[in-house]
C-alpha cells in the first residue's frame, strides 16, 4: 500500500543510504540484538559472557570510525540531517572508548554485587548508540531522538540497585529532572521550528539570521528553552541539583558513565545547536552561556569545598568543570573554530582524567567499602600504586602541567582571551580564580592519602586489583599523560577548522 502511494507520488525519491557512514551505529545495533538474544536464549548461563560481548561490540564499532577517519571525506545523509565529518568521528570515538572503559569498570562490580548483569550491558550499549547518533545529528528530530535514546537507559541504570532506597532515589531524581528538562527543551525546539520553518538546523539558522531585530522575544524564548534543556544534561547551575544525589546513589560504574559519557553527550548536543544554528543570534545566546558558565564554575567549586564524600566532591567538581567547558560558548561568534576546538579538546581530556578518577575510586572502594574522605587516610601505605594514580588524576583535574588537564584549560583560556571582548575577559578572570579554589579541595584528597594516618580497623594487607580494573586505570592514565605531554596529538584531531562549520 505504502509502496504504491510512494510510486504514485512524484515528489518521493528513495534516499540513498551510505552504509559505510552508518557502520558504527549499525554495529552497535547488532551488538544490542546479540546481547538481547544471548540473554533470552542462555538465561542465567549467559552472565559471564555478556560483558565480553559488550566490550567486543564496542571495539568492533571503533573499526569503522577509524576507517571513516582515514577515508576523510565528509558524508552527508538524509538531506543534511545526518552528517559524518571529522568532528563527529572524534566524538564518536570518544563515546565508544569511554563506554569501553565503563564496561571494564563494571565487570567485577556487577558480577560481585549480584546485579542484573545481562540487561545492564544491553542498556549501556543502547545509551552509547544514542550518543553516537547525537554526534552526527544536524536536525531537531534527530537530536531529540538521540537525547532520549541515551537518557532513558541511563535513568534505569541509575536505579539499578533495585532493593536499595538510595539507588531508587538517585534514579527517581535523575528521571524527574531529566524528563522535565526534555519538556522544556521540546517547547524551545517547537518554537525554533515555528521560527525556522524546518527541523534542519542549517535551515533554521538561515531563517533566524533573516529575522534580524524582529521578534527578539520569541527568538530569545526558543533559544533559552533549548539551551536550558541541555543545561540539565550537562548539570550546569542552576539546573544541577540532581547531579550530586544521582552520582552518590547510583552504582559507581554508572556514575562514571553519567559523569563522563552522558555529560559529553549533552555538550555535543549544545555544540550541534550552537555552532550549526544558534550562532547567528550571538546577541541572544552569548549572555545565556555567560551566566550559565560563571554560575556553574563558582557554585560548583564553593559547594565542592565542603564535601566529605569523594564521589559527591567529584560531582560538584564536575559541575565546575562543566562551567569551564561552557565558557568558550560565550565567545562563540568571535572565532567559532577556535572556541569549538577548545570545547572538544576539553571534552576529550576531561573524559580521560575523570574516568580515571572514578576507576581508582572503584578499585579503592573494593577495600574501604566507602568513598568517605576520612576512610582514604594513609592510602599510600597500603595501596601505593592506586594512590599515585589518583594523585595524578586529581592534579590533572586541577590543571597542573604536564598533565592533560593543563592543556584543556589552556585551550579555553586561549579562546576567551583571543575573543578580546568584555564577556571573554570577565570569564577568563573568574575562571582563573576558580581554578585556584578548585586546587584546594583536590589537594585535600591527595593530602589525606599521603599524610593522614590509616583509620583504625582498616585491613592494610596488600590488595589485588582485578586485571580489568587495572587495565582501565592504565588506559586512562596513559591518555591523561599523553594529552599533557604531547598536546599536539589531541590538537590535531580536534582542529576541524572552518570546514566543519560549513564556512
Amino acid at each position: 500500500m505504502l509502496a504504491l502511494l510512494a510510486q504514485a507520488s512524484d515528489v518521493f525519491t528513495k534516499p540513498t543510504v551510505d552504509y559505510h557512514a552508518l557502520a558504527p551505529e549499525l554495529i552497535l545495533v547488532g551488538t544490542i540484538i546479540v546481547l538481547a538474544l544471548v540473554d533470552s536464549w542462555k538465561l542465567e548461563r549467559a552472565r559471564p559472557v555478556m560483558s565480553a560481548i559488550a566490550g567486543l561490540g564496542l571495539l568492533a564499532a571503533l573499526v569503522p570510525v577509524i576507517t571513516l577517519a582515514v577515508d576523510g571525506t565528509d558524508r552527508v545523509l538524509l538531506d543534511g540531517g545526518y552528517v559524518v565529518d571529522s568532528m563527529s568521528l572524534v566524538l564518536k570515538a570518544l563515546f565508544i572508548v569511554s563506554a569501553y572503559v565503563v564496561v571494564l569498570l563494571s565487570i567485577n562490580y556487577m558480577a560481585e554485587g549480584d546485579y542484573w548483569e545481562s540487561e545492564y550491558y544491553t542498556l549501556l550499549i543502547c545509551s552509547v548508540l544514542g550518543m553516537t547518533v547525537m554526534a552526527s545529528s544536524r536536525d531537531l528530530i534527530g537530536i531529540f531522538i538521540a537525547l532520549e535514546l541515551l537518557s532513558i537507559p541511563a535513568y534505569m541504570l541509575a536505579a539499578w540497585r533495585k532493593g536499595d532506597e538510595r539507588s531508587n532515589e538517585a534514579g527517581m531524581k535523575y528521571y524527574l529532572m531529566g524528563v522535565f528538562a526534555t519538556g522544556i527543551l521540546l517547547y524551545g525546539m517547537s518554537l525554533a521550528y515555528g521560527l525556522g520553518g524546518s527541523t534542519n538546523l542549517e535551515a533554521i539558522g538561515l531563517q533566524l539570521a533573516d529575522l534580524g531585530s524582529d521578534g527578539v522575544p520569541v527568538v530569545a524564548l526558543a533559544l533559552l528553552f533549548t539551551i536550558i534543556g541541555f543545561g540539565f544534561k550537562v548539570s550546569a547551575v542552576p539546573f544541577h541539583t540532581w547531579a550530586p544525589d544521582t552520582y552518590e546513589g547510583a552504582p559507581t560504574p554508572v556514575t562514571a558513565f553519567l559523569a563522563v559519557a552522558s555529560k559529553a553527550a549533552g555538550f555535543v548536543a549544545l555544540i550541534q545547536v550552537t555552532y550549526f544554528c544558534f550562532i547567528v543570534r550571538s546577541d541572544v545566546i552569548e549572555p545565556i552561556f555567560f551566566v550559565l558558565s560563571i554560575s556553574s564554575m563558582t557554585v560548583g567549586n564553593l559547594i565542592a569545598l565542603r564535601q566529605s564524600n569523594v564521589i559527591r566532591m567529584l560531582a560538584y567538581s564536575g559541575i565546575a568543570q562543566a562551567g569551564f567547558m561552557l565558557a568558550p560558548f560565550a565567545v562563540a561568534s568571535s572565532d567559532p573554530a577556535l572556541s569549538l576546538q577548545a570545547v572538544v579538546t576539553y571534552l576529550v581530556i576531561y573524559a580521560a582524567m575523570n574516568l580515571g578518577a572514578f576507576a581508582v575510586i572503584i578499585a579503592i572502594a573494593r577495600r574501604t567499602r566507602s568513598a568517605e574522605l576520612e576512610d582514604l587516610g594513609g592510602l599510600f601505605t597500603y595501596m601505593p600504586g592506586l594512590a599515585v594514580a589518583f594523585t595524578l588524576f586529581l592534579a590533572s583535574l586541577i590543571g597542573i602541567p604536564p598533565l592533560g588537564g593543563w592543556w584543556a584549560k589552556f585551550g579555553v583560556f586561549a579562546s576567551l582571551i583571543e575573543a578580546d571582548s568584555g564577556l571573554g575577559w570577565t570569564l577568563a578572570i573568574v575562571m582563573a580564580v576558580n581554578t585556584a579554589i578548585a586546587a584546594y579541595y583536590y589537594l585535600a584528597v591527595a593530602r589525606a592519602m599521603w599524610f593522614d594516618d590509616v583509620p583504625e580497623g582498616t585491613d592494610t594487607s596488600p590488595v589485588r586489583t582485578p586485571a580489568t580494573l587495572g587495565f582501565a586505570v592504565v588506559i586512562t592514565l596513559i591518555a591523561t599523560l599523553l594529552f599533557g605531554i604531547l598536546p599536539q596529538v589531541v590538537n590535531d584531531v580536534t582542529d576541524f577548522g572552518l570546514v566543519a562549520l560549513g564556512g
Binding site: 532513558i152 532506597e165 531508587n168 517547547y187 544525589d245
Partner: protein
C-alpha cells in the same frame, strides 16, 4: 489564521504543566504534569506545521512515541519506590543530600 490561539493554548498548558511539576508531591501526578508539557509541545508543532509542511507533524509523532516510552520507565521507577517505601511522595526522598 488562528495560529495565535493555538500558541496561547499551548503556552497555558505548558505553564500548568510546569506548575504541576514544581508543586505536586505525588510521583504519579508529576508524571501527568510532564505529559501536559509534552502535549503543549505537540499543539505548538502541529499549529506551526500548517505553515511549514509536514516536518512538525512527524516531529509530533516522534514526541508521542518517545513520551510513552519515557512514562513507562518513570512508572517503573515510581513502582520500585512504592515497593521499598510504601509511598510515592517524592518530597520524602531525602536520604541523599549535602
Amino acid at each position: 489564521m488562528l495560529l495565535n490561539q493555538f500558541l496561547l493554548l499551548a503556552a497555558i498548558l505548558f505553564s500548568i504543566g510546569v506548575y504541576g511539576v514544581i508543586v505536586r508531591r505525588n510521583g504519579v501526578l508529576v508524571l501527568m504534569s510532564i505529559e501536559l508539557i509534552l502535549n503543549s509541545v505537540n499543539i505548538n508543532l502541529i499549529a506551526f506545521s500548517t505553515y511549514h509542511g509536514l516536518g512538525g507533524q512527524v516531529f509530533a509523532l516522534f514526541v508521542i512515541a518517545v513520551a510513552a516510552a519515557e512514562v513507562g520507565v518513570g512508572l517503573a521507577i515510581v513502582l520500585l519506590i512504592y515497593r521499598n517505601r510504601r509511598s510515592v511522595d517524592i518530597d520524602a526522598l531525602d536520604e541523599l543530600k549535602g
